[in-house]
């Protein structure tokens, strides 16, 4: 039944906050509607203070909408049972420092009703998934930022939810850690999990998301399939490998002889700075 229902349905969400100064109302989210179907990876992007986190909090029932409606798999977000199938990783979370990685997952697992052997197996599986088996019994106080984000992602997945909500999952993490989190999100997508994330790293959003929404000053300004949004409809890209200068000249001539078509740019494609960094640092890591 759930397959037919949207994983996330936000309809005309409006959220006003009272400001302390003169009790004026501040509209953080203004008539935002988002619909995410099961299995989709949706990225919400926008500058700081544009209403991304408030939208996510409204979806999780952490703030009540001023007007509009939020539902998860058809259940009203303000109902506790709507959170049975959701995992959430907030921005810059500080988990309980006195707990070890395994204890943290056990705690969240028990809150979701897991116990006994099932819980222990799940804890081991998740620590493996986020590559933290080695830090299993180390207290979180000694974890790096990247490790904290990964244990945070593991706790979000503890009850094997159908929807994961990630608020800036790579904020403050170095490129290697950031890539690990990106790979984890891709793994979740392969498993058919629905992911709703917001991030400042547009390149990463582009790499993992199939749907994107751009929010600005509380309003949704653009939304749709990523491929549709970023494609330049009147241009075609051909990337050649080991092409001789003669072949390139022939292509140029062929284009010039075609009516209406023109060459916009010819050059060597560039790698990204992130890929260069990863390639160099991973090479240095090797003995």
């Amino acid at each position: 039944m759930d397959e037919l229902k949207p994983a996330v349905e936000i309809r005309n969400l409006v959220k006003d906050f009272k400001t302390s100064f003169r009790r004026q109302m501040l509209r953080a989210v203004d008539d935002v509607s988002i619909r995410i179907m099961p299995g989709e990876v949706y990225g919400l992007i926008g500058p700081n203070g544009s209403g991304k986190s408030t939208t996510m909090k409204a979806l999780l029932g952490l703030v009540a909408p001023t007007s509009g409606h939020c539902a998860i798999f058809g259940k009203d977000s303000l109902r506790v049972d709507s959170r049975n199938d959701v995992g959430f990783l907030p921005e810059n979370p500080y988990f309980y420092k006195h707990l070890s990685g395994a204890e943290t997952l056990r705690f969240y697992g028990k809150l979701c009703g897991l116990k006994g052997r099932v819980l222990e197996e799940r804890v081991t599986e998740l620590l493996g998934l986020v590559d933290l088996q080695g830090a299993r019994d180390r207290r979180l106080g000694g974890y790096s930022k990247g490790m904290l984000q990964r244990i945070g992602l593991a706790q979000a997945l503890v009850q094997d939810p159908k929807l994961v909500i990630l608020d800036e999952p790579t904020a403050g993490v170095d490129p290697v850690g950031s890539r690990q989190i990106r790979d984890l999100i891709l793994k979740l997508r392969e498993r058919g999990m629905t992911v709703f994330l917001c991030s400042h790293l547009l390149e990463q959003v582009q790499e993992v998301c199939d749907h994107v929404g751009i929010i600005f000053q509380g309003k949704m300004v653009r939304e749709g399939r990523l491929e549709d949004l970023i494609a330049i409809e009147d241009q075609t890209e051909i990337i050649l490998k080991d092409a001789s200068p003669e072949l390139v000249s022939s292509i140029h001539r062929l284009v010039e002889n075609s009516a209406g078509a023109s060459v916009v740019r010819v050059g060597k494609p560039r790698t990204t700075l992130e890929r260069l960094f990863l390639r160099e640092t991973l090479r240095e890591d090797k003995p």
Partner: protein, 306 residues
């Protein structure tokens, strides 16, 4: 029916998970170090043997009273401080660290979260009091034995008749470890429980640990003379006759617990018995305030936005 039982058991299970976690969190903050201070106070109280002007049959009883007085006083202080500070610390810390988001994003009702946190603090207070009580009872038991030995020797030397010796023995035993003393320790726990639930209520609308702590201590002190103030107000001429005045008085007693009721602890220090009825009454009062404050906290917390 089975659905209701399942729902209740899942509530209880979540509350116990949060309570055990809060307890572990506080224990790992090394709060039990205060037990060393308690042990020092216990040892010191053994030396407060004030000069006495009673007969030889009262020899050493002052030390026993001193041990009880210092122990119960320290227990009261530590339990109230622990109850208020621990409760005032836990909630704002979860909000500040955003760990609260991760908990409330799971299927955890807000009442379960609050009840779990409160129970965690109460577990800590209970274990602390149990350890202090163990130490007090052990010291008191040993010291009572020593006092009785001295008294027996004295009685033999003076050639006291057996019935006088028995009376002296009974009087000394009254000052030693007794069920009334255990009841008094339980009353100390009840008072700390009321304060913890009150601090929980305050911390739901205050975002600062310091504010919660100060206001809680203020209410604690007011609670010790609110009954007198209420009586004085009601007896002050016409004010006492009006329905409005009585309503205010009722409201005041609802929000501010009357801690004078717990003065029975002083009587136990003096060697008097604590009636079971009185202990039952204190238990009911403690339960009433703990439940009332917890539900009031829930009322505020359920509407709170993060």
């Amino acid at each position: 029916m089975s659905r209701a039982i399942h729902s209740l058991s899942s509530h209880l299970s979540r509350i116990s998970v949060i309570a055990l976690h809060a307890f572990t969190q506080l224990v790992r903050m090394k709060v039990f170090y205060f037990l060393v201070v308690f042990a020092i106070i216990m040892i010191a109280s053994n030396f407060f043997d004030l000069p006495q002007h009673e007969g030889p049959e009262s020899m050493g009883l002052n030390v026993l009273r001193s041990i009880k007085s210092w122990s119960l006083g320290t227990m009261t202080l530590f339990s109230v401080v622990l109850a208020i500070v621990a409760t005032a610390l836990l909630l704002p810390k979860d909000v500040e660290d955003r760990t609260l988001y991760t908990i409330l994003a799971k299927p955890v009702p807000r009442l379960d979260y609050l009840a779990g946190k409160l129970l965690g603090v109460l577990m800590l207070v209970f274990v602390s009091l149990a350890l202090m009580n163990l130490l007090m009872t052990a010291v008191l038991h040993i010291r009572t034995g020593m006092v009785m030995e001295d008294q027996m020797q004295m009685a033999k030397t003076l050639g006291w008749p057996p019935d006088a010796i028995a009376a002296m023995k009974a009087e000394t035993l009254q000052q030693g470890p007794s069920w009334s003393l255990q009841g008094a320790v339980f009353a100390v726990f009840l008072r700390a429980s009321i304060m913890a639930s009150l601090a929980l209520l305050i911390s739901t609308f205050s975002s600062s640990t310091l504010f919660t702590t100060i206001v809680s201590f203020l209410i604690y002190f007011i609670g010790h003379f609110q009954a007198d103030a209420r009586d004085a107000y009601l007896q002050a001429g016409a004010a006492g006759e009006g329905v409005f005045a009585r309503l205010i008085s009722l409201l005041l007693s609802l929000v501010l617990p009357d801690f004078q009721l717990f003065n029975v602890i002083d009587a136990v220090i003096e060697g008097q018995a604590l009636p079971l009825m009185m202990l039952g009454k204190l238990t009911l009062i403690g339960l009433f305030y703990a439940v009332f404050f917890t539900f009031a906290s829930w009322f505020i917390f359920s509407e709170k936005e993060f």
